[in-house]
């Protein structure tokens, strides 16, 4: 057993999108947090417009608040990005977006970046889309390896992707790619929806990141029905030493993001004990 530490908790800025990045970072300091999972989305980290100078500014803002970057997570679900797209121009642009995201991760000084598999059209068999996703992942991993960055592949909700939406499919992709750079990001919301468990994931594949979220719908801890105490116990049982990203992602929290984060942190502090 190894106790989960508050220093492993890394909130995300995704539900602070109506406020500037600095506002979010100040909130982390206010709540005595030591790590951040940086969501790469506008207006905080607009990936397509990012320059070396703009990324350095972001890094400085984070570093001067003594925050560690747990993971860089470019927005790829809401944005027009799909590495498994059947239209070559859409897929090529998506790959380029993620290759640039790797450069940003590198300049930020983090060694972990999140990635998702994309999707094929739902009225078609996923075979071809699966291949396109795998090949895109391989291209991205090749560059990640050069930069010394690990990738963490997140299974999605079934309504978001027909490729990877449970543990078995994640394992299949990890096995097929078989790269030391690639692990799995277990998000507790799609995990619970798929009927998988943390124990299954830890037993069967390499977990290199976790999104510890209440659900359904990525709500703040306390607003959903998922078993936080059980998750903490299981993480301690498997001696998980990585980061726990807090992805609070629901439009009801946009107006007052601090309130949602504070509530989630209170529940986690109580659960860790």
């Amino acid at each position: 057993m190894r106790k989960i530490q508050m220093s492993q908790i890394s909130p995300m800025n995704i539900h602070y999108a109506l406020y500037p990045l600095e506002y979010f970072l100040d909130s982390l300091v206010k709540y005595d947090i030591q790590a951040v999972e940086l969501w790469g989305g506008s207006p905080h980290v607009p990936i397509e417009d990012a320059t070396f100078a703009s990324v350095c500014r972001i890094r400085d803002e984070i570093v001067r608040r003594d925050l560690n970057i747990a993971c860089f997570t470019p927005e790829t679900c809401k944005y027009p990005i799909n590495i498994a797209a059947e239209e070559p121009s859409l897929r090529d642009r998506s790959i380029k977006y993620l290759l640039k995201s790797l450069d940003i991760a590198s300049e930020l000084g983090t060694n972990l970046m999140q990635i998702v598999p994309g999707t094929g059209y739902f009225n078609k068999k996923p075979d071809e889309a699966w291949k396109r996703s795998r090949e895109s992942l391989q291209i991205i991993i090749e560059k990640a390896d050069v930069l010394g960055i690990d990738l963490t592949l997140e299974p999605l909700l079934k309504r978001e992707s027909n490729l990877i939406f449970n543990k078995d499919l994640a394992k299949k992709m990890l096995d097929e790619i078989h790269s030391p750079r690639l692990g799995c990001n277990v998000d507790t919301v799609p995990m619970a929806e798929a009927g998988d468990s943390l124990v299954d994931y830890f037993t069967e594949l390499k977990v290199n990141h976790i999104h510890l979220c209440d659900g359904p719908n990525h709500v703040a801890w306390g607003d959903g029905t998922l078993p936080l105490h059980q998750y903490i116990n299981e993480l301690e049982q498997f001696e998980y030493q990585g980061y726990l990203g807090l992805e609070i992602y629901n439009s009801t929290y946009y107006l007052d993001p601090d309130q949602a984060l504070e509530q989630a942190l209170n529940h986690i502090r109580a659960a860790i004990g």
Partner: protein
């Protein structure tokens, strides 16, 4: 059922947003299958993302629509999911957003419709809105000039409070329309935004009159972008009120809840059947 004689099924239009896990052709075929003659085309990935397409691609999409004898009533480039914000404080975001909408006005003309939906953008929520309002107004004026030259009218749609702090109700909509005062910029009504703001159909028609050119009919609780019947808004009552104001425009069903994504036809058909019972 109500007694109006003007508002009919022929005013309804289907939208493709919740078909985003299917191809554009699949959506168009569904509209034909369900005998829906009108569409409002959502310009979003992967159906029509303006950054990925040329004007000749837009012409090809127009042929796909016309070859199915569908009537395009409005073009709606995605406004909220992506990085665009015409009122952004950061010059690079603002420039990207203006380029996006300027190109989309050209796409509108190429698609063969003269209406394009537009929203205000937003300012940071902890700052006074006066500067963001000015940026939005200047941006909208530039876009309205471009629209005028392209034979396009922009339809300004109020947003919900978690989407924007600028135009979120009938008063702010009217104020912006008056400040810009151009024929190429008109107002529209979204039932959910109206209900969330506490406005009424009467408020909208009294404020905009004949300048109310387009309506989104969707259900909500009151928020959401739900199929008619999936929420708790009094849609039949709204339709009767809209009818009483002798509205002749279209009623688009802008379904956008992500739980409709796996089986978009089902949600569309449910909405259509429910609203058809209220019209005739």
């Amino acid at each position: 059922m109500f007694g109006g004689e003007r508002l009919k099924n022929v005013n309804l239009a289907g939208m493709n947003l919740h078909y985003l896990n299917y191809s554009l052709e699949y959506f168009l075929d569904s509209m034909v299958k369900y005998e829906m003659p009108n569409i409002e085309l959502w310009g979003g990935f992967p159906h029509l993302y303006s950054e990925d397409i040329s004007l000749s691609d837009a012409a090809r999409i127009r042929k796909e629509i016309e070859s199915r004898c569908l009537n395009l009533v409005c073009y709606t480039p995605e406004q909220l999911m992506y990085v665009n914000n015409i009122a952004a404080k950061e010059p690079e975001i603002q420039k990207r957003s203006m380029d996006y909408y300027l190109k989309n006005i050209e796409i509108t003309a190429e698609l063969g419709t003269n209406l394009m939906l537009m929203t205000s953008g937003w300012g940071y929520y902890h700052e006074p809105i006066v500067e963001a309002w000015s940026r939005s107004r200047e941006a909208l004026a530039i876009l309205a000039h471009k629209a005028e030259k392209s034979g396009v009218t922009l339809l300004l749609e109020p947003l919900q409070p978690f989407e924007s702090n600028l135009i979120t109700n009938v008063q702010t909509l009217k104020r912006m329309l008056q400040e810009i005062n151009m024929d190429s910029l008109k107002g529209m009504m979204d039932i959910v935004a109206m209900a969330v703001a506490g406005d009424t159909v009467k408020d909208y028609f009294e404020a905009l009159g004949a300048g109310l050119l387009h309506i989104h009919v969707i259900d909500g609780t009151p928020s959401g972008h739900l199929a008619v019947g999936d929420g708790n808004l009094p849609i039949d009552q709204y339709l009767k009120e809209i009818d009483d104001f002798q509205y002749h425009g279209y009623l688009s069903m802008e379904l956008a809840a992500s739980n409709y994504y796996p089986e978009p036809d089902k949600a569309f058909l449910r909405s259509l059947e429910n609203i058809r019972k209220m019209l005739y």
